[in-house]
Amino acid sequence: MRPEAAASLPDRFARWFAARGWRPRAHQLAVLAAAQAGEGALLIAPTGGGKTLAGFLPSLIDLHAAPRPGLHTLYISPLKALAADVARNLETPVADMGLAVSIATRTGDTSATERRQQRASPPQILLTTPESLALLLSLPEAAAGFAGLATIVVDEIHALAGSKRGDQLALCLARLATLAPAARRIGLSATVAHPGALRAYLGGGLRLIEAGAGAAPEIALLLPPGRLPWAGHMGIAAAPAILACIERAASSIVFVNTRAQAELLFQALWKLNTATLPIGLHHGSLDPAQRRRVEAAMAAGSLRAVIATASLDLGIDWGSVDQVIQLGAPKGVARLMQRVGRANHRMDQPSRAILVPANRFEVLECEAAIEGVAAGTLDGDPPRPGGLDVLAQHLLGMACAAPFHPDAMFAEVTAAAPYATLTRADFDAVLGFVEHGGYALAAYERYRKLFRDAEGRLHPRDMRIARHYRMNIGTIVEAPLLRVRLGARGPALGEVEEYFAAQLVPGDTFLFAGRLLRFLRLRETTIEVADGGEGEPKIPAYAGGRLPLSTHLAARVRAMLQAEVGWSRFPDAVREWLSLQRTRSALPDAEGLLVESFPRGGRHYLVAYAFEGRNAHQTLGMLLTRRMQRAGSRPLGFVATDYVLAIWSAEPARDIAALFGEDMLGDDLEEWMAESSLLRRSFRNVAVIAGLIERQRPGATRSHRQVAVSSDLLYDVLRRHQPDHVLLRATRADAAAGMVDLGRVAAMLARVLGRIRHVALDRVSPLAVPVLLEIGRESVRGAAEEEALLAEAEAMLAEAAAIPA
């Protein structure tokens, strides 16, 4: 921190701190000093550092010193619930100090009445989300409403930057810079790997203020009893040990990686919980009211534990959590730090956390993560260019607010960090898409959504365009969801994906919201259920549940495997496993790539220890099987985990080094990506965000279904007729960064070039056992595989029908 002029805290504020027995923290004063010097700030502080107050202090002091009507401060949070919590918490100092400051929230939950009130008399402090901000900025009165804005506070900025929501927010901030050039920006973030990138994201010229790291957390490893599992991610065998941990502490958060895992663990704990400890369940598909009840109970200290997914990664501090238990692999150091930070919110005392790996590879990952936390090195991807689909949505919104000239809009948009490198050609292509679809066939001249006036400014064609925009705003695209309700008139429990619901027949049971439920009937957009039931319950799964292992953590795991001196920290079972691997085969090394081959059950296996995460391994698997097909090895299938890729074939693979050559990313990649189901999924998201198709609404009527256009059909037609269309380019960019994870595949192939170690074995190696156990649990398909699966299912059924009963 640079030496700056000391911040001046008005008496009333100093007295308020003193009355509560507090002293303003150094970073709170540093933010204030920056603001008083007319500068913005990016505050990086761990959880519990009083960040939110630091963000609001300059505004409260401003409004106290020079009261004025109209919007003064805009606060943006990634979560609706967080915005509401912060608003509530802000009321306390405002009331205590007798400040005349009006505060309101504006989110998707805000009622029409409240919205009208806010229009009639704007609050001085408005708390909102990126989506609601985009909507406000698309209204014709936006220019007048935001002109007097003095401060913009962006909370949990690390959770937004780098995502499509972050792209949308960056574009909105660029807009605000046009409407209110004098407004200062304050960013609040947890500790991140790239603070410079975050500062650039928020806008140059900000003071970077980093609070001390606080006490180092204490993280322990808890192993499930009995034999250490070889595979599986659920880790439910550890339930008794987890319950014992919960019993020993006053309050715990148990983090898991997926909603299905949360439901399973909750059920397992419930069966064991003879002492009937109050334990809650929290995940993103539960009814919001239910989630709020759990949060309130946790804040009030009436729960001993809550089982949670990423739904609790962010949020208001509860201040009273004794320990965090992480069941399953942490997947990344930054994510683990964030979760660990949810325990004990006093910066001067260590947070306590317990990691519970579900299998032996996860033991390695947990140890690597503990090492990463101790070293304070974080993972995190460097910034990527903003999505063109998000830009399309934004441009339409801007036209709905007021006519704009493309030159001025290009200048404004490229002031947003994610779009700083956007070319004019790409901008024009996106604008062309918004105006008339951007198709090579000039068929849509008469259906333009935007028209240009004599001065070249763009206007929406009619009111319907603005209505469409507002109905489809946002960058989160979910699978269609159905509400789950207890009986016809009972409470709503939450939502499940329509796909899951379609599999249920009356009488089926499933685990949801911590209950065993029996499916009664589907009524329009609601699934009616009753408590109880018999038979093996199903568990709803949700798309996109699992995060891949981070690059940084993967590198640590590889390094640990090589550094045998460090093995002493591992449990005996893991040490023996690794020693056996060293004797029978070889250990994966830190920079190169270990590839094993062995015969088993009449097939030939190839196992690559790449440690690049599931997405990258799936891509690698697709590309390698294509090459092996051409080479005559007759590949039969593959399975990818976060650590390993295994391929099996009818003939042994030849010339392993050539197989892994960098030229793999040429024609095969193009061809595979074009027909991959991953690309189709990416295209659906892009098409919805860019405004090509409407958001799917759950339980749409039959006639609507038949009329709705499936994005797959559009994808096929567009790919055939205009493969360079801007939405297809956006789709490929998305997939390359996300589900296909091309960056990691390319980096890995470059890294291991000339350093591939092939070990030919006569049987399976110890390290390969876990991945072989995953076979049959994972599947990824292209169009050709789908046909094969259908043929197989058809043949199986015909065979079964031929057996006399």
């Binding site: 259906y447 027949v505 038949q706 055939r720 789908e786 699966l789 259908l790 299912a793 029908a801």
Partner: protein
Amino acid sequence: MTPAAIRLAGEALLLDPTGGVVWPARRLLAVADLHLEKATAAAERGWLLPPWDSAATLARLAALIARHRPQTVLALGDSFHDRRGAARLAPESLHLLSVIADAARLVWIAGNHDPAPPEGLPGEAVACWRAGPLCFRHQASSAPPGTGLGEISGHFHPKARIAARGAALARRCFVVDARRLLLPAFGSYAGGLDVRHPAIGALFPEGGATFLLGAARLFNFPLPPPTLRIQADGILL
């Protein structure tokens, strides 16, 4: 392309993997729910879908005709996405239509999206088409066909989902029993309705068979009666 042979009311029919049905004895081909000009209909409402749907649909139809060489081609209704669709056809699509009309007698059966005959286009327009024991119409009648008779219709855009190795694969499909045949939608942008929907179930109270469209062949799966729907791999979800 390998068609599947079925019998309906005693007549031998071929189901084509692209979604058309051929009646060889009468040299007749039927397709349903072309939904031509769906993209421009959406564009009028502000959704600028890729505009090649009509041309793509007609090109597939032309290829189907070239393979089976029928004398008569029936379009079983909802050939146009809306009443004004025919007027919006682009020159390329009009050309494809004239090629089709030159190759076979083209018959437009009225649908709910296009109740009036298309103006200025080749072909004749009828409410339904009867030949021998078979009746071709847009929407299946609620009463089952009389003894010895069969009915071929579209309208519902049937689609089936199959569970295979933990994945669900959705495809357009034919649905058939001894007396009724539902055709899948042939239009490039036509949506689908799950075969388990009660509207389809009501037409097949005893269950039937589904034929899912594949790249070069059809995949045959039984359709259980609406009251008996079990799940397992390879069974309709």
